[in-house]
């Protein structure tokens, strides 16, 4: 397996699953689901690991893109397809979205974020975070297979 494939399976997939889990945790109303809300330690770890992965995965992915892709290694340093800048831009938005969501969720748990608009914001941001993780993961796996630079 290539480094890019290992990166996707070991880091990218857990990030995707945890983000999906946190979207279901936040729920449509922006409030925590009861099944996880009762487990304070599990909830804290879930968000902590999610934020950690959200920072590690895109930055390490960008590093891999720059160090492992043949185009870069050959020294031309040019991306031939719009998919790669798209992946880099949206992928690096993931830590911004998830860090902000984790911060807002903390305020929501402390009952400092209870209104309709703030719940809508949290719910919407988690869905956008999931969307960007999905898209970056899809483009990343295509890149790992060499689709964009063959």
């Amino acid at each position: 397996m290539s480094w890019a494939a290992v990166h996707g399976v070991v880091l990218g997939l857990p990030l995707l699953l945890l983000t999906a889990l946190c979207v279901t945790y936040v729920g449509k109303t922006g409030e925590g689901r009861p099944w996880l809300a009762r487990r304070a330690a599990a909830r804290r770890w879930l968000w902590l690991v999610l934020v950690g992965l959200a920072w590690i995965v895109p930055w390490s992915g960008l590093l891999l893109t720059y160090t492992a892709l043949p185009r870069w290694l050959l020294g031309s340093g040019e991306w031939k397809t719009l998919a790669l800048p798209w992946m880099a831009s949206w992928g690096l938005m993931v830590p911004m979205f998830i860090s902000t969501c984790a911060y807002l969720m903390r305020h929501a748990r402390q009952r400092l974020l209870g209104g309709l608009w703030s719940r809508r914001a949290l719910w919407g941001l988690m869905w956008i975070a999931l969307g960007t993780v999905l898209l970056a993961g899809l483009l990343g796996s295509l890149t790992a297979q060499g689709v964009f630079y063959r």
Binding site: W79, L82, S89, W90, M93, M96, H107, L113, G115
Partner: protein, 112 residues
């Protein structure tokens, strides 16, 4: 007899700061591709340098905006609706600029 007025939803200053800063950060990341294309075309930066440099600037801008606003807005209350809508607008523009959609209209140059 009129209906009772709903109290306007308020956001604590630090929460509003996090939301606005997120909008600024996403917009900055979205600007990397169009701005980078311009910088390469005008010969101001080498192609390999553009994305790492602009990405670092976008993250620095996001974190410093968050820190400055959180410090200045701490303890204040803001109406929630305009803050959320501004954040949504900035995020939407950032996502659009970060996607390849706009390139179909303005044409393609060397990609950062």
């Amino acid at each position: 007899m009129g209906l009772p007025l709903q109290p306007e939803e308020k956001l604590e200053g630090r929460v509003a700061a996090a939301m606005v800063a997120l909008g600024v950060g996403v917009l900055a990341l979205g600007l990397i591709t169009p701005l980078g294309m311009g910088l390469i075309r005008w010969g101001l930066l080498s192609q390999a340098m553009v994305r790492p440099l602009l990405t670092a600037l976008a993250f620095g801008g996001w974190l410093s905006t968050w820190a400055v606003l959180a410090r200045r807005w701490c303890g204040r209350q803001f109406p929630a609706r305009p803050v959320v809508l501004w954040m949504a607008l900035l995020v939407a523009v950032g996502l659009l600029l970060g996607s390849p959609i706009w390139v179909w209209f303005v044409g393609r140059g060397p990609l950062p």
